[in-house]
């Protein structure tokens, strides 16, 4: 996935001379995850540049660059370091189109490597997507596969609205066969993907939990339960039709994410199912999520993250209801 993201940035820099890439250590180093590897060498220090270590400024300055007609793609080094930028994101970036009565927008992307499962230190494994999804005016995109990562990042850079782009760290080194950009037209933001067809229960998820849910589905299949896995791809806009269609067909749903349960994005998904598919439900909808604790030390994170066992237990509860 790292390579796919790198290619997406490279192709956007090449195709749109107004695209800029900025952030901490994204130049010579190529980013701590190497997502920007070689870009500064290829496009120069005017278009790919390291910034001082100040996240609020990275966001606020990106807005200023956007007002001057540039398309900045800013990197927050880690999920847990994105919080100093929240004021700029919430008070200005998200609201710029609205405040200017549509005269101007803030066409910028903030990339955030997010979530856990990589054995990292404190502040390096957080899932802050709900903060952003709760803020009107932001699109929130979360790819789960390399091919999607390429398409969705290109679409995010081309998007006329600000996009918060969450990259699931534990999937950075995942591989997938296929040609980047083979879809031709940019993938529209807001279309979910059925990652696996099934008839007995729908798992609705995103990011790194897509792969984990697919693994759970394979296991369930051996026991005769066919799980449909819906990869949301974006939380805002949310593909309400795809959620409703899948749940109507299976009659059962489990929502899986790494972020804590309380006021997590899963609550939003469950509420949408109530609104759009209640009469099709055979069982209450369940959530399998991180716990309402601070993200734990990495040596016990396996007990925090949803795993196959927890996912299948929830599926068993809804299918046997």
């Amino acid at each position: 996935m790292v390579k796919a993201l790198n290619e997406a940035l490279r192709d956007s820099l090449r195709d749109d001379a107004r695209t800029l890439v900025l952030g901490e250590d994204i130049g010579k180093l190529g980013g701590v995850f190497r997502v920007t590897d070689g870009l500064q060498e290829a496009f120069g220090t005017d278009r790919v540049f390291d910034t001082p270590l100040a996240e609020a400024a990275i966001a606020g300055v990106s807005l200023g660059l956007a007002l001057a007609g540039w398309h900045p793609v800013a990197e927050m080094q880690f999920d847990g370091f994105s919080y100093p930028a929240l004021d700029q994101v919430i008070s200005h970036i998200a609201k710029y189109r609205y405040r200017s009565r549509g005269r101007q927008s803030a066409p910028l992307v903030i990339r955030i490597p997010f979530a856990g499962g990589v054995g990292a230190a404190e502040h390096h494994s957080e899932s802050p997507e709900a903060y952003y999804a709760h803020t009107a005016g932001l699109k929130v995109v979360v790819p789960s596969t390399p091919l999607d990562a390429y398409d969705l990042l290109r679409a995010s850079i081309a998007d006329p609205d600000p996009v918060i782009f969450f990259e699931p760290k534990s999937r950075y080194w995942s591989k997938e066969h296929g040609d980047l950009g083979a879809n031709g037209d940019p993938l529209p933001i807001g279309k979910a993907r059925v990652a696996r067809r099934g008839t007995d229960c729908t798992i609705i998820t995103y990011g790194a939990m897509v792969a984990r849910s697919l693994a759970a589905a394979e296991e369930a299949s051996e026991d005769g339960t066919e799980i449909e896995v819906l990869d949301l791809r974006s939380l805002v806009p949310l593909d309400l039709d795809a959620i409703a269609a899948s749940v109507r067909s299976t009659g059962r749903a489990v929502v899986v994410h790494e972020a804590p349960m309380t006021a997590g994005f899963g609550a939003e998904i469950v509420a949408r199912i109530m609104e759009d598919a209640f009469e099709y439900l055979e069982a209450p909808v369940l959530r399998v999520t991180g716990y309402d604790t601070p993200y734990p030390p990495a040596t016990i994170e396996a007990h925090y993250l949803p795993n196959t066992e927890r996912i299948l237990a929830a599926v068993a509860r809804v299918t046997s209801f």
Partner: protein, 349 residues
């Protein structure tokens, strides 16, 4: 008034005061224009305060006392330069030709940011989170520089904002990227109820040292000194990519906003002291002394200001709330499904 009398200690650093008229590069017409705009600003500001008291504005932050700081600095810029204001810069808006009715939509609670076209006036939308607009000025300046444009940006903020991280991050970015920015601090002595002595210990203009660019303290009630300091800073910014921090020492003669009661924290004697330094009275004397303006001119300006305020009043009172569908209009470029449903609930379409 010289800066020392304003209680700023002995060290005036690079401050300038009462510059020679010849050194300014302003023709007599320009000198009179500065007065005219300060007078229009004063009248518009008083009118806006009155409109709030009469229930026509939801709230308003008066700027009386800061006219020289705002008009002098905004007037020193070229039209192509951008201004990123905070929320008390009606005087700079006057210089930029922003329709004040459109500006006051913010305070009539009819539209966030105001309804003027920021790009047309190169005057950003009203920005309330303290200090947050500083970063936009820096980013815009960086972007303009990448384009090879010869322009600078100027951002207004107050003494309180110098405690915000955005101020320090903005200064540092501007220095590192050689961004053509003027950081214009109106030190009006009070951040709501907290005096500048309780806000920060180091003199504000000297904070520039920490970032490696010039800091200038200027008598903010001397419109010509402000004009000159800003012109010099703008030239440094455009020609050399050197940012400048200007501390304009001035005074907020009114409350923080119409919702504030300054008598709870501020001695009346202090206001009297500063009233004696009123920037408009002072500049009137200067113009008369220099033989640049006479009673006829001042009477003309008085009349113009009266008409200006009357138009402002009529325009504000005639401003209706925006249609409810605008609540949904510009959240995104295209209305996503979840918002379409909510819009339908409200509008039934």
């Amino acid at each position: 008034m010289d800066a020392r009398r304003a209680g700023m200690g002995e060290d005036l650093g690079r401050a300038v005061s009462d510059p020679d008229l010849e050194s300014l590069g302003l023709k007599e017409e320009g000198l009179r224009d500065l007065f005219r705009m300060m007078a229009l600003t004063r009248r518009a500001d008083l009118e806006a305060t009155a409109l709030q008291r009469q229930g026509e504005l939801a709230v308003y932050p008066p700027l009386a006392g800061q006219e020289a700081a705002q008009v002098g600095s905004a007037y020193a810029l070229e039209e192509s330069d951008w201004i990123f204001p905070s929320y008390r810069e009606l005087g700079a808006a006057v210089v930029r030709g922003v329709d004040l009715v459109e500006y006051l939509h913010f305070y009539r609670a009819t539209w966030h940011g105001g309804t003027y076209d920021a790009t047309a006036h190169r005057f950003g939308y009203v920005s309330v989170p303290v200090g947050s607009q500083i970063l936009h000025a820096v980013g815009y300046a960086m972007g303009a520089k990448l384009d090879g444009a010869s322009l600078c940006t100027l951002t207004y903020f107050g003494d309180g904002a110098t405690s915000e991280g955005d101020f320090h991050e903005g200064c540092n970015f501007a220095a590192v990227f050689h961004a053509p920015v003027i950081f214009f601090c109106q030190n009006n002595q009070w951040a709501i109820s907290v005096p500048v002595s309780a806000q920060t210990v180091a003199p504000i203009w000297r904070k520039a040292d920490a970032y490696g660019f010039p800091g200038v303290q200027v008598d903010g009630n001397d419109v010509l000194a402000v004009y000159q300091a800003t012109r010099e800073a703008a030239a440094r910014a455009r020609d050399e990519g050197i940012p400048t921090l200007i501390e304009a020492v001035t005074y907020r003669m009114g409350p923080h906003s119409t919702a504030d009661d300054a008598s709870r924290y501020r001695p009346a004697s202090e206001l009297e002291t500063w009233k004696a330094r009123d920037p408009i009275d002072r500049y009137r004397e200067r113009l008369v002394r220099a033989g640049v303006a006479d009673d006829g001119f001042f009477a003309e300006v008085e009349q113009e200001a009266g008409a200006f305020a009357a138009r402002l009043r009529a325009g504000v009172i005639a401003s209706e709330p925006r249609p409810v569908e605008e609540m949904f209009a510009w959240v995104f470029a295209e209305l996503p499904e979840h918002l379409r449903r909510q819009r339908q609930e409200v509008l039934g379409d």
